[in-house]
Symmetry: C2
Amino acid sequence: MLDQVLRAIAEPNRREILKLLREKELSAGEIASSFDVTRPAISQHLQVLHAAGLVGVRRVGTKRLYHLKAEGTSELLQFLNSFWEDRLDLLKKAVEEEVRREDRNER
Amino acid sequence: MLDQVLRAIAEPNRREILKLLREKELSAGEIASSFDVTRPAISQHLQVLHAAGLVGVRRVGTKRLYHLKAEGTSELLQFLNSFWEDRLDLLKKAVEEEVRREDRNER
DNA sequence: CACTAACGTAAGTAGCAACTAACGTACGGA
DNA sequence: TCCGTACGTTAGTTGCTACTTACGTTAGTG
């Protein structure tokens, strides 16, 4: 599963698709219109993203609406955390300070 | 840079190399002995990891000692954070509680 | 200065991954 | 029911990527 996720987001066009879906749910055609490659190519990319659990589909009439899905990312985060703990610590540190600030303001 | 990092960790053998280096600094030969593939193949993998900034080298005599390096991961985390905020929120939530607990104990 | 150890590098190959063109399918409208 | 729309699917091609074999290089050792 981790392997599928990593292979999925290793491809630039697929990352671009994910960025588009970050804004809102989009149909396969709408997604394809943002790229230079043909529609079937995008369809295949969507299949890869779906297999990796990064994207979900919803059929509405003749359209297929795609949306972001976070499944499969937990393994990825676990992977990153397992040997770049100091990096995640930076994130943690930032969060810590944020929390302490908020905590003081609340009182 | 993000692209290089993602392509680097998308390969299973390279992820395995990173896992080995998590324990301690290792020579190219020691790393290669843990794999079925030939030594030149590992040498090429190490080159990819080095180009991505995930690994550093240190020459000692005729040996080359490799070690983990966290450069390049910040972009990756930023990428993940940009549209899987809810996932990182889980991490944040865990950190938040931890901080609040520690905070109370200190007082 | 040979000789070995521990590597990286170059060249060639096999397999996979991304792409296109052509085709098939399901849905809605006239 | 016929037609167009919006897709996915298949087959075939191209280009890249991981691999091997062969060779070059640098640092110690007798």
